[in-house]
């Protein structure tokens, strides 16, 4: 059992930055990414209401299925892909180790 996971943010094609996140603080991925200096607005503070924390999961472990609220918000955004998630709805747990993601543009 580890109390840290490593997730990888693809900042440009082929360029990945490692982000180390604690698993014992009940954080969401949005909070970790914001704390790591990524420009995420997270206007609604993590309530699946604003869609400004949109990420795309590129590879790594399978995550829990998104809730209806999360899917509703994702469906109302202009771009959505198979790996689309709201990072505020993804809890940082040991299962996340090795996840590769990228931030989705706010206004494509």
């Amino acid at each position: 059992m580890t109390d840290e996971v490593r997730v990888y943010v693809e900042e440009a094609p082929g360029h990945r930055r490692e982000v180390v996140a604690p698993t014992d603080m009940g954080l969401s991925l949005m909070e970790v990414l914001k704390a790591s200096g990524y420009d995420i607005q997270a206007t609604c503070g993590g309530m699946a209401l604003c869609g400004t924390c949109h990420i795309e999961v590129l590879a790594g472990p399978a995550l829990d299925e998104p809730s209806d609220e999360e899917l509703y918000m994702l469906e109302s955004l202009p771009v959505m892909s198979q790996g689309s998630r709201l990072s505020c709805q993804v809890r940082v747990t040991p299962r996340l180790d090795g996840l590769v993601l990228r931030l989705m543009p706010q206004q494509a």
Binding site: M47, G51, E75, S76, V79, Q106, Q107
Partner: protein, 337 residues
């Protein structure tokens, strides 16, 4: 050109801007309120109208939408005027210290003081990534909001989106437009089940066309929009002759033009003096989520407090020779203008 003259122009019709109308009214100052959104209420109406709020004094619990309606009732006696659906772009200071403001749609507002209550910035539509889309904005066939449904009378429309507003406007415009096609990237509609059901009925009755698992990918026409291409996730693209395309993918706040007004800023927020919430430009004040000062809390309650103090400062700026004597509303009742 539409021209308005008032004492204070309030930029932003969020809770803080609305309450500032009340505080200004107590000082017998007239207000005009401008908001980029077609409705009042700021974040409360746009992001969380159905969420309960627990930290408004005197209301153990109130829905955000109801708080906005109550604020509107509270300011009624002061007859504020509104310009909704237009963003304030720029200002000019006149020789006598008053201001001229201009909106995106060319409305001009003459005022003696400006109160910026712009919150997180103006809410702007999320635009899909379609090449040349911007060429058809400004009345040439692409609309990101429905301001006046009559614009679409007897027109052929394509609406894109999978949220409530795409569903609601599809239902409403089915009776107004000549032809409505709703294009949705997915296969299901979450949102209000009732609206999704209605759209399905309209589709079954042949009143609207529903194109699922597809995206609008191209727009065409030399000047005015004439056609759009709809590309399915798998299969052949289809080009459809249309008069208007309405992408409805929600709104997102952007600090926008206020960030370029030369006011002193810190982390995208306007720096203020907490004596009266004045900015670095005399006569321009900033209240609510848009300002910053040591100890700032982005709460409605704090914005209300700031509005009260700001109006004292604006009163002094507008009437440098008059002395204002604080009276409680319980002494005189709520004055009217």
């Amino acid at each position: 050109m539409n021209s308005i003259s008032t004492d204070i122009c309030i930029i932003g019709a969020g809770p803080v801007g609305l309450f500032a109308v009340f505080e200004a009214g107590l000082l017998k100052l007239r207000c005009h309120v401008v908001d980029a959104l077609p409705q009042v209420g700021g974040q409360l109406s746009e992001i969380y109208p159905k969420k309960p709020i627990y930290d408004i004094p005197g209301f153990p619990e109130v829905l955000a939408g109801d708080l906005v309606s109550n604020l509107m009732r509270q300011i009624e006696p002061f007859h504020p005027t509104f310009t909704l659906g237009e963003r304030v772009e720029r200002f000019a200071k006149l020789e006598d210290g008053s201001f001229q403001l201009f909106t995106t749609d060319g409305t001009e507002i003459l005022c003696k003081a400006i109160a910026i209550a712009g919150g997180l910035g103006s809410f702007e539509p999320r635009k899909p990534a379609i090449e040349n889309l911007e060429n058809y904005e400004s009345g040439k066939g692409v609309y990101y909001m429905v301001r006046d449904p009559e614009t679409f009378r007897d027109k052929r429309l394509v609406i894109a989106g999978g949220g409530d507003s795409a569903l609601d406007w599809t239902i409403f415009l089915a009776d107004v437009a000549k032809e409505v096609t709703l294009v949705h990237r997915g296969t299901t509609f979450r949102g209000a089940a009732d609206s999704a059901e209605k759209v399905k009925h309209l589709h079954d009755a042949g009143k609207v066309r529903l194109v699922l698992s597809s995206n609008v990918t191209h727009v065409h026409g030399p000047e005015q929009l004439e056609a759009v291409t709809i590309t399915p996730n798998s299969g052949e693209p289809e080009t459809l002759h249309v008069d208007s395309f309405i992408p409805l993918f929600g709104l997102t706040p952007k600090l926008g033009p206020i960030g370029e007004w030369g006011l002193e800023l810190e982390d995208d927020a306007v720096k203020v003096n907490t004596v009266d919430y004045s900015t670095s430009e005399p006569g321009i004040f900033a209240i609510g989520d848009i300002n910053t000062y040591p100890g700032k809390l982005k709460l409605i309650l704090c914005g209300f407090h700031e509005a009260a103090l700001m109006c004292q400062g604006a009163f002094k700026y507008i009437n440098p020779d008059k002395k204002y004597v604080l009276k409680y509303t319980t002494v005189n009742g709520v004055p009217t203008l």
